[in-house]
């Protein structure tokens, strides 16, 4: 019997939403406890700041340029490499419960098996898909053909309309406001907590674990759709945090002139989005103008987000309790992370897009190795050197005692900074490519040492000479873009040269955009 692996992902969760990472809004004792028993990474970055490319990186262990899913709406080829397949081939039982999103959601023809299989059960055609022998899917509400929606429709049809209607009549992400402040993608949701998707994901994970024999090894990806917008947690839970008491984030200068001066120091698409003259990507409401965001709206969004984070923590606690009841507690590695961050008011913005700053790029990553592998008296470890989601797949292989396949581009996560230094964890890459309705944006970013550098490639808003350069020590909020600062020009040139030399292999055949998301 080997080590079992529980991969816990959330969707669109910032680094600073966990108490163990310094967050002050949410209480996250379960994840904090895992961090206390293992490793907490202070510089984990996704390789893309939107869902489909990032999730494809987790699964394949490859950068977006290599696996080819360059933006949301581009399906990951069914024959793409998969760490789940590697583990399954080695005798692991495998499941993904919750949000998958390797294939687009907009699918009226049910062309994509990820959507179609909700009407056929939870065992994929042929016995597995992408290496998962069990797939039970959910997303951010009751829409679509996923398992959670079907379950809700069959068992609680009265709840279907309780969720926020995230897409409007023009099939855009809705800009409609709700709650007390009229914030976009906020809704008072009267749904019973027990049937909210967070608890459903935990329930279904427990059900799958209960179907296994005690001596089986397993890899379970438990994938919570929250705290991604819409922000509509069960209203019964909103008494935990009064949004009026929520402090404004440090990254949100309340003074409009200050806020706009900061944005004006960045490449022009920042200000264009803020003013509502350019929406470059589908992930933000096309009809919402960020400049209209009020401090109270930021507070309410962050309060609802924090409640969603707490519910996830509690749901994870239930699953871990069941793991312990099954007698597996000492043999399970638990990895907790997310696919990317959320602006949550930083710079006066919400949601996500081609904005490579900590709000979107610095993500939670906790690895609690199986206690049976930890020496008696082990202390919590903090890893400060940069790692990426691309490193997860080889880490799972290492946990399972498998040599990571050649096609994986990351490395097994370091166990401390000394290990990280000796194995060359000195930089982490993130990329953005979007081409939607005639608007294209292309970014390449590297975090190295204390710097984040982003070089722009030509697109409809940029000529390829633009960039961003931030000193994370002196300017942790990334408010001063030093790209054009001549005093750091040699450093900038060195970073850019390293960034360019470090670019991953590009998939030979370009994949197609087949849906907006």
């Amino acid at each position: 019997m080997g080590r079992k692996i529980l991969l816990v992902t959330t969707d669109q969760q910032r680094y600073d939403t966990l108490a163990c990472n310094g967050g002050t809004l949410s209480r996250t004792p379960v994840v904090d406890g895992l961090a206390a028993g293992g490793l907490r990474f202070e510089r984990a970055h996704p390789q893309s700041v939107v869902c489909m490319p990032s999730r494809s990186t987790i699964l394949t262990g490859q950068h977006p340029s290599t696996h080819g899913v360059f933006m949301n709406g581009v399906p990951l080829p069914v024959d793409a490499p998969s760490v789940a397949e590697v583990l399954r081939d080695s005798g692991y039982r495998t499941a993904l419960v919750g949000k998958a999103h390797f294939e687009p959601y907009f699918d009226p023809f049910l062309r994509f098996e990820e959507n179609a299989m909700s009407i056929n059960g939870t065992t994929p055609h042929g016995g597995s898909r992408r290496g998962f022998e069990h797939l039970e899917t959910a997303s951010h509400g009751a829409m679509g053909p996923l398992h959670y929606s079907q379950w809700l429709m069959a068992n609680h049809p009265e709840a279907l309309g309780m969720y926020c209607r995230a897409i409007d009549d023009s099939l855009q992400v809705s800009a409609a406001g709700g709650g007390d402040t009229g914030a976009p993608q906020v809704k008072v949701n009267p749904i019973d907590r027990g049937i909210y998707h967070t608890d459903w994901v935990a329930d279904r994970t427990v059900a799958w674990l209960d179907s296994l024999d005690a001596d089986e090894d397993w890899f379970c990806w438990m994938s919570f759709p929250d705290p991604h917008h819409p922000w509509d947690p069960p209203e019964s839970e909103m008494g935990r945090i009064d949004w009026r008491d929520v402090p404004l984030p440090a990254g949100y200068p309340e003074d409009r002139t200050t806020r706009e001066a900061i944005i004006d120091g960045k490449p022009r698409h920042w200000r264009a989005w803020y003013d509502g003259t350019l929406v470059s990507n589908y992930e933000a409401p096309a009809d919402w103008i960020p400049a209209t965001l009020t401090p109270d709206q930021v507070r309410e969004v962050n309060a609802r987000n924090a409640v969603e984070v707490e519910l996830i923590d509690e749901a994870l606690g239930r699953v871990l309790a069941r793991v312990a009841e099954r007698g597996w507690a000492d043999d399970v590695d638990v990895v907790v992370t997310t696919d990317h961050g959320e602006l949550q008011g930083d710079f006066g913005l919400l949601f996500k897009g081609p904005y490579h700053v900590d709000a979107l790029m610095r993500i939670p990553l906790i690895w609690r190795p199986a206690p049976s592998t930890r020496a008696e008296g082990s202390t919590p470890t903090v890893v400060t050197r940069p790692v990426g989601l691309v490193d997860l797949a080889p880490t799972f292989c290492a946990i399972a005692g498998i040599h990571p396949p050649e096609w994986m581009q990351g490395k097994p996560l370091p166990v401390d900074d000394t290990d990280a230094e000796s194995r060359g964890f000195d930089k982490v890459l993130t990329e953005w490519d979007s081409e939607l309705f005639g608007i294209s944006v292309h970014l390449r970013t590297m975090m190295r040492d204390r710097w984040v550098v982003t070089a722009y490639r030509p697109g409809t808003s940029h000529d390829g000479t633009e960039g961003e350069l931030y000193d994370l020590v002196d300017d942790p909020l990334q408010q001063v873009n030093r790209w054009d600062d001549v005093s750091v020009r040699p450093l900038r040139d060195d970073l850019v040269a390293d960034l360019r030399e470090s670019q991953p292999e590009v998939r030979p055949e370009r994949l197609f955009l087949e849906a907006p998301v």
Binding site: G73, P104, F106, D107, P108, F109, L110, R111, N115, A116, P145, S170, L171, Q172, Y282, F437, F512, L513, E514, A515, P516
Partner: protein, 129 residues
């Protein structure tokens, strides 16, 4: 959105499939059935979504097929399929779509790309890259 495929076969072989309104379920993945009544075609998607269409052009000489989806989901829609004889024992089939809301052009276009990719298997011919 525009997608195309070049096949090593006579253009009439492709036209016989894509230019016959009732044969849509054979080549368009995710269309469960369709009913044709004059210039109206109603398809049923695999998701159980009925999608009414008005057939605008079925021209075997030009090998051009055009239709509009008239479902209330669409403010506007026009799809055009052209089969071109390239004169070298190959033909080029082009599917283009305009739609409002524009996101639906992505969805229809994406489905069309998969449908075109299914033609070689259906016709037993080789694609030409």
């Amino acid at each position: 959105m525009r997608h195309s495929i070049r096949l090593r076969c006579a253009p009439d072989a492709v036209w016989d499939v894509v230019g016959t309104p009732g044969r849509l379920p054979e080549w368009w993945l995710g269309v469960e059935s369709c009913e044709v009544d004059g210039d109206t075609r109603t398809i049923m998607t695999r998701a159980g979504l009925p999608m009414p269409e008005r057939l605008l052009t079925v021209d075997p000489d030009l090998r051009r097929f055009q239709y509009r989806i008239t479902s209330p989901l669409f403010v506007e829609h026009l799809s055009t399929i052209d089969v071109h004889d390239l004169g070298d024992d190959t033909c080029l089939t082009v599917y283009s779509v305009d739609a409002e809301p524009a996101v639906l052009a992505l969805v229809i276009g994406g489905a069309a790309r998969a449908a075109l990719a299914h033609l070689p298997e259906l016709l037993g011919v080789e694609p030409v890259h």
